[in-house]
């Protein structure tokens, strides 16, 4: 029986963790992630899970403890956001380089200064090339579903890489939405028993983690890491198929929303995709062929599939909730541009920076962008490739 509930994104993910009952969790509170780990700590205190909860003095220590616990042979989780993820920076590469399948929700938050606790994607975008897999989630349901699938992807014996599950701070983490929970037993069965690989606690087979690798070998390890990344997409698809059988909910590399016959389109991550889809429906009712692509698997980036999904459009706007100071374009735009570069027929691309530090993204913003795309599709002329949305002059 499907259990429908009205919960926040944080509550949904905390419940996914409860159902999975990981061996170890080390975390440090940081808004807007705090409430997720607080809820999970309550599950630990109430004996609903057998997880060893390690309270640490910083995010650097949180991920360090997770790395140790994961190398020791445990199924390990943590969660963070914004500046917390920034403080984990050094350890991110250690977790991925040691091929430790840690699962970490990232409740997307802006970076300081100026100090701000609200949603944008600067945090996870900064960590996009740290060797972790990244799944992005539009709402609480997707955050919950992605969290459960993340374990299967991370722990797959051909992969063994850590996964970030991104969800928008406050907009999703603290807003109540409708969600369908799976039964505890279903989740446990889907995720399965954890199989450690070369665990430190296996004293019959001693293993050393973290040796010094000099110039004569370092590049071979990096090349091997890239190879593992290239195997991730297939595993992701297989896991989504199994998950669909269980839940009835279909996932892929990205969501294709009314794109197949579209002439203009938006590419946008996470919660703002929901707002955009409403506006796309309105444009469709007016006879304008509009569509949307919402990336889900952002690292590794499915360049080929995304390029194929967008190449037939006339004009596309990529909306970035992160800036790239001095890099000219937002990070998502650069990836979309790369995915289309090798196609001879491709849409005209523009880039908008929106929603920094929790600035609202409203339907009228999407309307303005889509009206501009209609004009570009007609005239072939672009006024400005990159612009900021909703900023005061």
């Amino acid at each position: 029986m499907v259990k429908v509930a009205a919960v926040t994104g944080n509550e949904a993910v905390a419940n996914a963790f409860r159902q999975i009952d990981p061996d170890v969790c080390a975390a440090y509170p940081i808004t807007p992630q705090t409430d997720m780990m607080q809820r999970f700590s309550s599950f630990v205190s109430d004996g609903e899970v057998g997880t060893e909860m390690i309270l640490v003095e910083s995010e650097h220590s949180a991920l360090s403890a997770c790395i140790g616990a994961s190398a020791a042979g445990g199924r390990v989780v943590t969660a963070t956001c914004g500046p917390g993820l920034a403080l984990m920076w050094e350890m991110l590469f250690i977790a991925s380089g040691m091929r430790l399948p840690i699962v970490m929700p990232v409740v997307n938050r802006s970076l300081s200064a100026p100090l701000n606790i609200h949603c944008d994607h600067s945090d996870a975008m900064g960590a996009r090339d740290s060797g972790w897999i990244q799944l992005w989630s539009e709402n609480a349901q997707e955050a919950y579903d992605n969290t459960i699938q993340a374990f299967r992807i991370a722990e797959h014996l051909d992969i063994r890489l850590p996964v970030m599950v991104c969800l928008d701070g406050f907009i999703i983490s603290h807003s109540i939405g409708r969600i369908e929970y799976l039964e505890d037993e279903e989740v446990k069965q889907f995720v399965g028993e954890y199989k450690p690989l070369n665990p430190l606690l296996d004293i019959e087979h001693p293993t050393s983690y973290g040796p010094l690798i000099l110039p004569d070998f370092y590049m071979e390890y990096r090349r091997a890491h890239a190879e593992v990344m290239s195997k991730v997409p297939e595993v992701v698809l297989n896991v989504t198929k199994e998950f669909e059988k269980l839940s009835g909910r279909k996932y892929g590399f990205f969501e294709n929303y009314r794109l197949n016959d579209a002439e203009i389109g938006l590419v946008i991550l996470n919660s703002a995709a929901g707002t955009s889809k409403d506006v796309i429906d309105e444009f469709r009712e007016r006879g304008i062929k509009a569509g949307l692509l919402k990336p889900r698997l952002y690292r590794p980036f499915p360049y080929k599939e995304i390029g194929n999904a967008l190449k037939h459009l006339k004009a596309v706007c990529v909306l970035d909730r992160a800036d790239a100071f001095g890099g000219s374009y937002g990070p998502l735009f650069i990836d979309i541009l790369s995915s289309l570069y090798f196609h001879t027929k491709k849409p005209i691309l523009i880039n908008k920076i929106y929603g920094l530090g929790g600035r609202d993204y409203l339907p009228e913003h999407a309307e303005l962008v889509m009206n501009e795309l209609v004009e570009i599709a007609k005239s072939g002329k672009v006024k400005s490739v990159i612009e900021y949305i909703g900023v005061r002059e």
Partner: protein
Amino acid sequence: MKLKGWKEVEPGATVTEPGSSKKFKTGSWRTFKPKFIEENCIQCLYCWIFCPDMAVRLENSKMVGFDFEFCKGCGICALECPGKKGNKAIVMEEEGG
């Protein structure tokens, strides 16, 4: 020795063979090497105690020289050596000098 290619390296750079550091000869790092002057040695074994590797060779509990496959030439043994009547039993010399 043929070095492993990227398809052969261990996942996560783990080392699963215990004691394999013995095979990793670190002596090539040396730019200075210790020279043992036996007549000044009082067999206090400070060099053996202080060596951060295990590069001081003992025979029958007596200092007899160095294992140059592992000695990195840090010079701690020469610094700590009390010698005899002010004359050091270990001095550092430039490698290849």
